[in-house]
């Protein structure tokens, strides 16, 4: 085992989980933290924090600022809360371009406005050249938990349906394509978006939604493995029902990626009661951020802790937790 931090420790896969369970949790252990959801529930409030270090800083469909606001808004929303107030901490590298900073701040303000949240406190630090990569942003957020909603792995049971709010892998594709010399059509861009509106509409038609997660780092594969483990259930997906853009599939073919492991920044996974699946999908389809929502699988009582994928020829293969950083492979 390595005695140094590797890039894979930050990739949302197995090494990230190991870091969390071996270093972080033992040090800070308490009941609220132990829930390990995207946000913490404290009385009637929800709280969350996240740091953003994306490269490139500006990408098709967004920038680091939009990402930082959306990420925290979405983490609060999937906790079952209405996001209200955000803090913003910015670490700037000496020599960073003023115009770039203005653009980033403007984009944060615009998306905060769209999401109906206020940025109420913040901090700025400047470090010497080479001590940071342009700009790093941390956001934290507080929201109000919605009465009668309880998003918790404990509520998940066999027979429930698994929904996803749209096409998978768009964000990772927009970021990775540029890094690897691929040129995408205009239509493919990061899905970075605030999902609080969509989630509120879903919870309005069905407050008993058992689980909501945003499928960011590690993609659908990581989120569903975490859910299956936390709830001690199996999750069986139907490969043909998972919405993926043609171009995203193309990038996966070219770089050897598995689309289930690609990061999203505007997609949620929901585990919902079977009998309200249709009406939830109907409200999702009405929302711009849920128009491609689909039923992709179900919760089963067997194979606890595992995620399976039924393939086009009827075999079922395991969808494992991603192991680490996404690197293009040629083998």
């Amino acid at each position: 085992m390595s005695d140094k931090i590797l890039m894979a420790h930050g990739a949302g896969g197995k090494l990230s989980a190991q870091l969390l369970h071996e270093i972080i949790l033992p040090a800070f252990d308490n009941a609220i933290l132990h829930e390990l959801h995207d946000g913490a529930k404290i009385g009637k409030l929800a709280m969350t924090t996240d740091s953003y270090v994306v490269r490139p800083i500006f990408f098709r469909g967004g920038d680091i600022g939009k990402l930082a606001v959306c990420g925290t808004v979405n983490d609060l929303s999937v906790t079952g809360a209405i996001p209200k107030w955000l803090s913003v901490g910015v670490i700037l590298e000496e020599g960073f371009d003023f115009d770039a900073l203005k653009k980033i701040v403007a984009s944060m303000a615009a998306v905060a406005h769209e999401a109906g949240v206020q940025i109420v406190t913040g901090d700025t630090k400047v470090v010497g050249r080479g001590q940071a990569d342009g700009i790093f942003i941390n956001t934290a957020g507080v929201g109000e938990l919605i009465d009668g909603v309880d998003i918790s792995a404990k509520k998940i049971c066999a027979g429930m349906k698994v929904l996803v709010s749209g096409t998978l892998g768009d964000h990772a594709t927009a970021i990775l394509a540029g890094r690897h010399g691929l040129e995408l059509p205009e239509s493919v861009k990061s899905d970075c978006a605030p999902l609080n509106g969509l989630i509120r509409e879903m919870l309005a038609v069905e407050p008993k939604i058992a689980m909501l997660r945003d499928a960011t780092r590690g993609g659908l594969a990581a989120v569903l493995n975490e859910i299956a483990t936390a709830a001690s259930v199996g999750i069986l997906l139907d490969e043909e029902k998972i919405p993926v853009r043609r171009e995203v599939r193309g990038v996966c073919d070219i770089l050897g990626f598995d689309v289930l492991e690609l990061a999203n920044e505007g997609k949620i996974v929901a585990v919902v009661p079977s009998d309200s699946c249709e009406k939830i999908l109907a409200v999702m389809h009405e929302n711009i951020y849920g128009k491609d929502a689909a039923l992709i699988g179900e919760v089963v009582a067997t194979s606890a802790g595992k995620v399976g994928l039924r393939t086009s020829i009827g075999g079922v293969r395991i969808v494992d937790m991603p192991a680490g950083e996404l690197v293009p492979r040629i083998c």
Binding site: G181, L182, E183, P185, R249
Partner: protein, 81 residues
């Protein structure tokens, strides 16, 4: 080893081609496949075009697959395969 994918040749500039797969474009070297022409589908591996995809064989394969999925036998093509 050896992930490779078919892509269409859009442009050729000396030894370098622009190829497209599923709407995604990238450049690929034609050093190993000098006979490739604009409009050909070529197999790409590690940034190099490796072979021209035989369109006639693609039709034969697709007909065979369709047949396996329950489509009626395509007599003419079945004879070739």
């Amino acid at each position: 080893m050896c992930l490779a994918y078919p892509a269409k040749v859009l442009r050729i500039d000396g030894e370098l081609a622009t190829v497209e797969r599923a709407g995604v474009k990238r450049s690929a070297s034609l050093m190993l496949l000098p006979e490739a022409k604009v409009g050909d589908y070529v197999l790409i591996h590690a940034g190099f075009a490796m072979q021209v995809v035989d369109e006639r064989e693609v039709q034969i394969r697709d007909a065979l697959v369709a047949e396996m999925n329950g489509a009626p036998r395509t007599v003419e093509l079945a004879g070739v395969s």
